[in-house]
């Protein structure tokens, strides 16, 4: 084989390989769909975070505004301390509510921010004080059963009274 055509083929091969890598990064991966640039960090304490994981999205009004950076257990208050990284472009009032929601019935969990009405905005290192825990299915079911049982008990009591 001629030397130059061989070089050409190798060049095509390497170019195609690099193009495939870039294609994977852009089209398949989240390199382009992750527009979160500079961020600021806020923390929030939850009594129960359910199945929340680090790198889970932080959404406000359904729009991704940041990511969960870190989850730790605070051994003094016995709460989960969640660190959120939020895009610098978005400012939230100081009395913003942080909730843990589930996307869909069995989907992944994310942190939802509901903006409050305060004039002062959250700054780097601030702590969100208003939080709501993740819904734990077992707790809900047991509460439901407990309510049902007590309802039934009341009915019986009223029946016997009559």
């Amino acid at each position: 084989m001629d030397r130059t055509t061989l070089d050409l083929w190798v060049g095509i091969f390497v170019a195609a390989g690099v193009a495939a890598l870039i294609g994977l990064a852009m089209k398949v991966g989240n390199l382009t769909s992750n527009p979160i640039g500079e961020t600021y960090t806020v923390t929030a304490a939850f009594e129960n975070i359910g199945g929340l994981k680090s790198r889970a999205p932080v959404k406000s009004a359904g729009v991704v505004v940041g990511r969960v950076d870190n989850i730790q257990f605070d051994n003094e208050t016995f709460e989960a301390l969640v660190t959120l990284k939020i895009d610098k472009h978005y400012n939230f009032p100081k009395d913003t509510f942080a909730n843990i929601y589930t996307s869909g019935l069995l989907g992944e969990q994310y942190v939802g921010l509901d903006a409050g009405g305060d004039e002062v905005v959250l700054k780097n290192g601030d702590k969100i004080t208003h939080t709501q825990d993740a819904v734990v299915l077992e707790k809900m079911i047991s509460q439901f059963l407990y309510n049902k049982a007590s309802e039934g008990g009341e009915k019986k009591e009223t029946e016997t009274a009559q």
Binding site: W9, G17, A20, L24, K27, V28, R55
Partner: protein, 263 residues
Amino acid sequence: MFNHLVKSLRGIGHRVIDRIWRLGCAARFFLQTLVLSGESLRRFGLTIREIYFTGVLSLIIILVSALFVGMVLGLQGYNTLQKYGSSEAIGVLVALSLVRELGPVVTALLFAGRAGTAITAEIGLMRATEQLSAMEMMAVNPIARVVAPRFWAGVISMPLLAALFSMMGVFGGYLVAVPLLGIDEGAFWSQMQANVDFREDIVNGVIKSFVFGIACTIIALFEGYDAPPTAEGVSRATTRTVVNSSLAVLGLDFVLTSFMISV
């Protein structure tokens, strides 16, 4: 009876020691290749020639099998995901399984079969026809002149081939999912992009294919270099290349995955 037992025990011991001996030789061979690879990087034409033989000529088999692997993943995944009403997640399934596992592993297995055997047979025949000895006579180190360019060609080709495999596989999955099964195109791509992480998934896949490239190429080179200079010796060495490369790839895959997935 007793004699027979001793004989078989001795046979096992002999084999084990022989394997360990060969492992040591392979490690020394690997180090020598790395030390003597200066020439192959200075005279890059040598390496380019080998990239043509190991990389470019493997393209057809890699791309065609990737297309079919992606299409099968699409069909099988759709079947199961549909039961749970989340058939849009097919893009995630295809992309993650290709980028994380199938891309690097299947490419490495095909690479061992397509390029590894060729390398072993070529170097084995060079040894059998005393070309390597002739080089030594001319004060040319065969490891620097013959082995190192092939090594670097394999190491360079492998990640590129794996990336092409993953991309082609995703395209195959797309072909089945969107035009054939009628899944929404927007959901297919956006779900994929939302769940495939660049650092965690794609870069880890590239690291894997890089390691597999080193393992497959060095095994093929060593088996060829170490082959007995007979027709039977070369044929056995070629078989050993495929067996050992496959085992090494699958074993290394487990080790690498357990390092990468740290929950």
